[in-house]
Symmetry: C2
Subunit: 201 residues, 2 copies
């Protein structure tokens, strides 16, 4: 594909991702996106063969963006608990720091598509599993490094960490509570203490 | 309003609530609801003057249903920690036990409308505040009864309880994880222990 084609595709993905971060996947329309991105509808179809194809591409773009803003900077941090802390720090409120107007598109999609079926739901299931798997690996690494004891229930830890993330999302974006970040930090500190975090960490 | 009018209104609200539990507020259309409820579109407008009016009425109906299935049965339970436990027990997965096909409409709306504005969002903000206030009062009651110590940070407790609810919603409905209920129970037990629950409770 030509450079111009790449640029148009990138712009469509960026505008589409911003739209779904505010309005959800259901709020995305092909016509609306074409207008917002300044592309004709036939120009849009040159890049995405259907609305579903567009949604899937936007979700992949969301993962790429989260990778750049949440994961990449933390990979320079020492493995174990320091890296886990860095990931959690970057994860909370990542969409705003990535330049999106709205909240985390994956979190919203989890509540939007939970009772539906189809390829878009399946993609979110895969993305969620990959992210959960990554968090699980980080907690295991903290155990290997001796920062957390071997007795920690890793799956339960990650399950509760998701709860902290979701409660932070609801309280920061929906309630616009200025204390959201502080509450999430306290909850995470308590989760680490309960897991048996070594005092030095 | 005549009994027949009441019945039609009730049917529209019940069908509409079931629809939003599956498809979210955005998934509700006046035409679709009229067909599903077996009412003409003009018949529907005899009860609701706009889509927004319908959405607000459905959200109120959701609160009424949750009141009947979550709150009412727990009010027969001894005040303090036993009642708080009963409320949490009834809250987790309440929509299914209330006969809805989908998940909690309020939880979904919190993620659907967080970055939007308008009367429907405002109604959810009010409903959320009322529910958070009720949970806060229950935790305070557990303190008054001597089941939890006076040192408990009640707002933080309720904030984390919301996280457990949301993680349970995501894991039970989106991931369809059979362990969701067990994980929520373990997280709640840990939250109570950290709050300094008396051993006898």
């Amino acid at each position: 594909m030509s450079t111009k084609g790449q640029t148009t595709r990138s712009r469509l993905l960026a505008v589409g991702l911003d739209t779904i971060s505010v309005e959800g996947l259901t709020g995305l329309t092909l016509g609306g996106l074409a207008v917002e991105a300044g592309v004709s509808k036939s120009g849009l179809f040159a890049h995405f063969k259907s609305k579903e194809d567009l949604q899937l591409s936007i979700l992949d773009e969301a993962v790429r963006l989260a990778g750049a803003h949440v994961v990449a900077p933390a990979m320079n941090v020492e493995p174990g608990l320091p890296r886990l802390r860095a990931i959690v720090e970057n994860w909370l409120g990542w969409s705003t720091r990535s330049g999106l107007r709205g909240g985390c598109p994956m979190a919203a999609a989890i509540f939007e598509l939970d009772d539906l079926s189809g390829e878009v739901r399946d993609r979110i299931v895969e993305q969620e599993a990959a992210w959960r798997g990554f968090l699980t690996a980080l907690v295991r690494e903290a155990v290997s490094c001796g920062h957390l004891p071997k007795t920690v229930d890793v799956d339960q830890f990650v399950w509760e960490l998701f709860g902290i993330y979701l409660s932070h999302h609801a309280s920061s974006r929906f309630l616009r509570d200025p204390q959201a970040r502080d509450r999430a930090g306290r909850a995470f500190a308590a989760l680490l203490r309960r897991a048996g975090k070594r005092d030095a960490q």
